[in-house]
Amino acid sequence: MKCDEVAEFVSALCDGEIIPQAAAEHIGRCAQCQALLREYTAMGAELRRVASLEPQYDVKPLSWEKQQGKLSILWRKGWGMMRIPRFAFAFLVGAVIVLGSSLAMVKVRARSEGSVLLITVTRSDGSNFHCALDEKDIPKASCANLGPEKGSMVGYQITLLSKNGNQVELGVRTAARTPEASFSTGDVAKTPQTTYLFEPGETLKLNVAGVGIAHMTGEWTDHVPVFPGEHHDMDPERNELRVMSPLLLKGRQVVADREGDSTSASSGQGIYVYSPTIGRYLISLSPMQGAVQAHVALNRISFQWDGDDYVFVTGAPVTRSNQQVWVLYEKDYKSDDVGVFGNGDLKHIAPEAVIPDTSTKN
């Protein structure tokens, strides 16, 4: 072996390690490697001497009991008592009161701002409907709703007459009919109007003759909600024809505008818009004698009559996509109503248009 190869074992020998025989033999007869061993040994001895000159370290007594985790220290501190000046405590209490009242003021302010009165009427059977009345539409801010209630069809018409501060003057009409009879907003409009002073936040009781007591509440909002009516689901129910705030266009001309009125009908029933000047437009999920099939796309019912293009634009989707809709226009239809929007069984409101059901014959 050569000295270079043995050098590492010289170092190991210095550490008291056993080395290979060949390396040991080489070191035994090599003066250079022996000199290296002496140097390594001398260096180690010198290092230990230097270390021995080091002054003694004063081992400070440490209190190991206090060496706890930050979490446990915080936990213990959290349960400890604290003294604060009375002024500081009074200031904290004052700050809580001020902040609390500020939040309450913000809440009140949010409810008292806005120009739209969102009314919720809870019928005597517990069901409810909503309507949105914008003060900018006074005196025409009005909504109507027709719906079943305790075995009857009950209609409500609510009109926003005036506003003074947070208080409003409301005109309310209610009417009830048997479910089989034709029923329209016109019927409701014919009933006497009762005037109420109403302030959002309070509950108003409405006596519906022969049916029961309905309750009305309200709040101010800064916008007209998407669904002010009783329906909150975007999709109509299966087999439901839903018409909310309809606007009827003939070409580019507005034929009828029933903003705020809403109702729905199922198969065998119809929804109509009537005025003495235009006649009656009857919409149904059932085919009718003389009716045309309409095209429905979301909130639009498009149809043609005598070469003219008509579109009902409503405030929400009208039917499910697989439902077919028919429209019958009776130009010469006459009624005592001045202007109506309503629904009813086809057998009652348009008996001559009913197509006899032949499926049960034979």
Partner: protein, 178 residues
């Protein structure tokens, strides 16, 4: 090793008396190690205390099967010293370190040469020559195989010897000029 395991079990169970004994037995050598690694008395004191506190707070960090308690202690210390060197500004503590090396009590050509070695070689050589740690313990401290310990010790000794010879030659030349 059995005593080591027994002691460590008591420390892991929160036996204050056992840990305090461990602290008193090893604080001096740990301080001396830091003193020569960082060259600053107050830093060495701080690091000594930090090392013991860290072990006391996390006794589960040790695995008695892998090495002795002292090896674990110096393993933590080695990391602390390396960390200190990494975060140290270039001039921090330099004066005091130099002063310590040049003090009359510790004046030594080997000592000066030792101070010029890279930190890892200094730690290795110190733990072997001064603390007398075995190859197994050093392997645990530096987390390397035993064979690597042997070759690194040789490299450190050779580096120290070269520096020592250069310094010795310069000193001889200076005497001749006079």
């Amino acid at each position: 090793m059995a005593d080591d395991q027994n002691l460590w079990k008591r420390i892991a169970d929160g036996d204050i008396e056992a840990f305090d004994r461990f602290y008193r037995e090893n604080a001096q050598s740990l301080y001396r190690f830091f003193r020569h690694m960082v060259g600053n008395v107050s830093v060495a004191e701080d690091l000594t205390q930090e090392t013991f506190v860290e072990i006391w707070k996390r006794p589960q960090g040790v695995d008695p099967e892998r090495g002795s308690l002292r090896a674990y202690l110096f393993g933590v210390a080695r990391k602390k010293a390396s960390e200190w060197w990494r975060t140290r500004k270039p001039t921090d503590g330099l004066d005091e370190a130099e002063q310590a090396c040049d003090s009359s009590e510790t004046a030594s050509i080997v000592g000066d040469a030792f101070a010029r070695l890279p930190a890892e070689q200094r730690m290795l050589l110190w733990l072997r020559e001064v603390e007398g740690q075995s190859y197994m313990e050093l392997a645990s401290v530096f987390d390397v195989p035993v064979g690597t310990v042997r070759s690194r010790l040789f490299a450190a000794r050779e580096a120290l010897r070269r520096i020592w010879h250069r310094a010795h030659d310069k000193e001889g030349a200076a005497h001749e000029v006079r």
